[in-house]
Assembly symmetry: C2
């Protein structure tokens, strides 16, 4: 068969192909358990990712295994589901096939129904060159890279006796004050103030400067203003500086260039920068737009029908961060519910129902953990900030983690971190030590 293969069920069962194993794809697949269909999940990684906790991997609280269980292990008891590794390169809406690639192994998978749940990726707003100076926090690779950079920066600061150079290592800039940016900045502050206490002899890690930047007028834009205010207060008390209404002009090895709304330019000197500012839909949205004649929407998303199907293609659904529908945001719960909804439409149609149901998002609320024992929560008209919101955050996240295996150690790691300031997953690889130091030093700014 050479390097080209065709896959599909031997039987005549209805073939559902799902692209992506995130919240949208995984919950669509699960919804099809026990149904008379074959399900093929294609993803470019081998794991389902609990993305909302990536910042905890980046700050040494959780291991990568705890938030990234193998998709095939999650679906092992679902006998109608096959999981295949592969980056989807094309979708042929006429031939009803998906083309994917893993190495030189190119696979063509035919479908009767298709659910596209390939999610979103980081957007540097056209300035991809800053990625190497300011990694984002969208996948496990990112989280491990950021972990190496954060803990590595303190190691380098301990070595450097020059105050300017030390200051560069001890400054952390987080760009973007949505939930990810806020949670990351809060955790960098926690670890510098608490976890690293008595770990160093020459520096005081509590002197680390943590700057959270956003172009908007306030942090946590998706929350009510009052909660955002409480969160900002808490972050400031932890030692996080918050700079609002300010845009990033450039990022390089030694810092971030900023422009305020009134045009004033400034610069923050910092070795460690993380980009939590923008996302755009997977490029597959553009492939589908081309093929279906639908114009791409905001952030590269694909406008879909009320039932999440692609206009003109009732057998193809786009869900989660890739779909444009009712202005729904890119959060896990939207992906999960729309994935389930698409799966349900397929089942209904196979059962003879001809009228599709519109997708109604059930807003379960928003949660963001700011620090140990402090979170903000918005549940419809109810708003909470503080310890009770944090307990709710704990409960909801633990309940949502996929897989029993991860939940047990996660409870322990949280207890360790939240009761005792300890963090068990601080490993920096040798590759990271070498990769981080050399370019950083080679391109260091001349010091006075």
């Amino acid at each position: 068969m050479g390097s080209n293969g065709q896959t599909g069920a031997g039987s005549g069962a209805h073939r559902v192909v799902i692209i992506g194993a995130g919240f949208g794809g995984l919950f669509a697949a699960r919804r099809l358990k026990g149904e008379l269909v074959t399900v093929t999940v294609i993803d470019r990684t081998t794991h389902h990712l609990f993305a909302p906790l990536l910042y905890q991997v980046a700050t040494g609280i959780l291991s990568e295994g705890e938030i990234a269980p193998p998709t095939r292990d999650v679906l092992r008891h679902q006998s109608n589901a096959t999981v295949l590794l592969g980056e989807v390169t094309d979708v042929d809406l006429d031939a009803h096939t998906v083309t994917s690639r893993a190495g030189t192994r190119e696979l063509t998978t035919p479908y009767d129904s298709l659910i596209v749940a390939a999610g979103a990726e980081t957007s540097y707003f056209g300035h991809d060159e800053i990625a190497r100076h300011a990694p984002s926090l969208k996948d496990i690779d990112d989280a491990l890279e950021v972990r190496g950079r954060i803990f590595g920066a303190f190691e380098m600061a301990e070595l450097d006796e020059d105050p300017t150079a030390r200051g560069l290592w001890m400054t952390f800039v987080v760009v973007g004050a949505g939930a990810t940016g806020v949670e990351l900045a809060g955790q960098i502050a926690e670890l510098s103030r608490n976890t690293l206490k008595s770990n160093f002899r020459r520096i005081d890690p509590a002197n680390a400067r943590i700057v959270l930047i956003d172009s908007g007028p306030r942090i946590l834009g998706q929350f009510h203003e009052r909660l955002a205010h409480r969160a900002a207060e808490r972050l400031r008390r932890l030692g996080v500086e918050i700079e609002l209404g300010i845009r990033v002009a450039a990022i390089d090895e030694g810092g971030v260039d900023l422009i305020a709304a009134d045009g004033t330019a400034s610069r923050i000197k910092a070795r460690t920068k993380v980009w939590a500012a923008g996302v755009q839909a997977s490029p597959l949205a553009a492939v589908l737009a081309d093929a279906s004649g639908v114009a791409l929407g905001h952030g590269g998303r694909l406008p879909v029908n009320a039932d999440c199907s692609v206009p003109g293609h009732p057998e193809v659904f786009v869900v989660g961060d890739m779909m444009e529908l009712d202005g729904l945001g890119g959060v896990a719960e939207v992906a999960l519910q729309s994935g389930r909804h698409a799966a349900r439409q397929i089942v209904r149609r196979l059962g003879g129902e001809v009228v599709p149901e519109p997708f109604h998002y059930r807003d379960l609320g928003s949660l963001a953990s700011i620090s140990k024992s402090f979170a903000v929560a918005e549940l419809g008209p109810m708003r909470m900030a503080g310890r009770s919101a944090w307990l709710l955050w704990l409960f909801v996240h633990l309940a949502s983690l996929t897989g029993f295996k991860n939940r047990i150690t996660t409870v322990f790691h949280w207890a360790l971190s939240f009761l005792g300031h300890g963090r068990a997953e601080r490993t920096i690889t040798l590759r990271q030590v070498l990769a981080r130091q050399l370019p950083a030093s080679a391109e260091a700014e001349p010091r006075s």
Copy 2:
């Protein structure tokens, strides 16, 4: 101060510098807790490594954090100890200084007493080009690389419908049947037969072929023949093929070329190879040999005096895998005891004792875990194989793990793995997916 710094205690306290944070270095540092000395530990990684369990990270049982706690966190309550990141590039025995480098930051650290515990590295016996085809298992980077290769191979096999190509992905060769090779081969067998059950739809992972190769006449050379025989029996029952008295001639992308004692050549076609065959002392042994006029011994080790000091340099000790003394082997317990011994000699000398004590190794025995509920143990004249040896193995390793944080989750991960076949740390990074597939495919052998 630019890129050059001198470090050292401001006070007049006796300055002990320790190179390496493995068992030798860490236990030497701990032995000096509360003594009137300053201790500086220099290591090229930021963690102490519990190397005997690397194979469990490579096979998805433990997270890297569980076996690699940050050295500075382990020593946080020892106020006389400073931990510095750096690769030691030179030791000046006359000037009493150690030169280390982290990035372009070069550091010169003066010492009054020096303990060199830089350990050993993998030896490919002059064929370093095979490293990329057969990584070893000496550090965290290796373990994560091997983890990606093992779990990634099953992913690729599931994709490949060509039986020859699939066979290549489903064959695993472990070169070297010492404790590491045996334990790794046993765990690959366990995971293919048990952990991965019902994870795949097109392949049966239990069909994986696992081949353990050694040039010697039997496995586990350091154990009594009877135990080695029991271990080999058990491995075979698990499905591991054992090939003895056979040398590796070459390793490439598609397999391993072998030569038997009688000159017969053969080849095992396999994508995944791991090298657990040889080690050599850190190159620092050669630096010390040059400087002290001592000729290097077997495996690049430095012959030392009975008290572990370097001939002609009573203030310099070489311990662990770097020292040649009484034919002691490269095991954790030798490193740990010799590191402690060197530290004790320094304390005694400061207390006015002029006659050094010879190092007497207290052999606490050898243990190797073959599979779930089966280990071999040798404690002086006592030899055990089976479940009781395995319980002993569990107890000893749990007791020896450094740090409370890691012990709790390790207990859970072991319970999961040994009671339920589950493995919680199977994550493959995207970088690994891409790195593994592309060269593998590009250099694939032509298929018929």
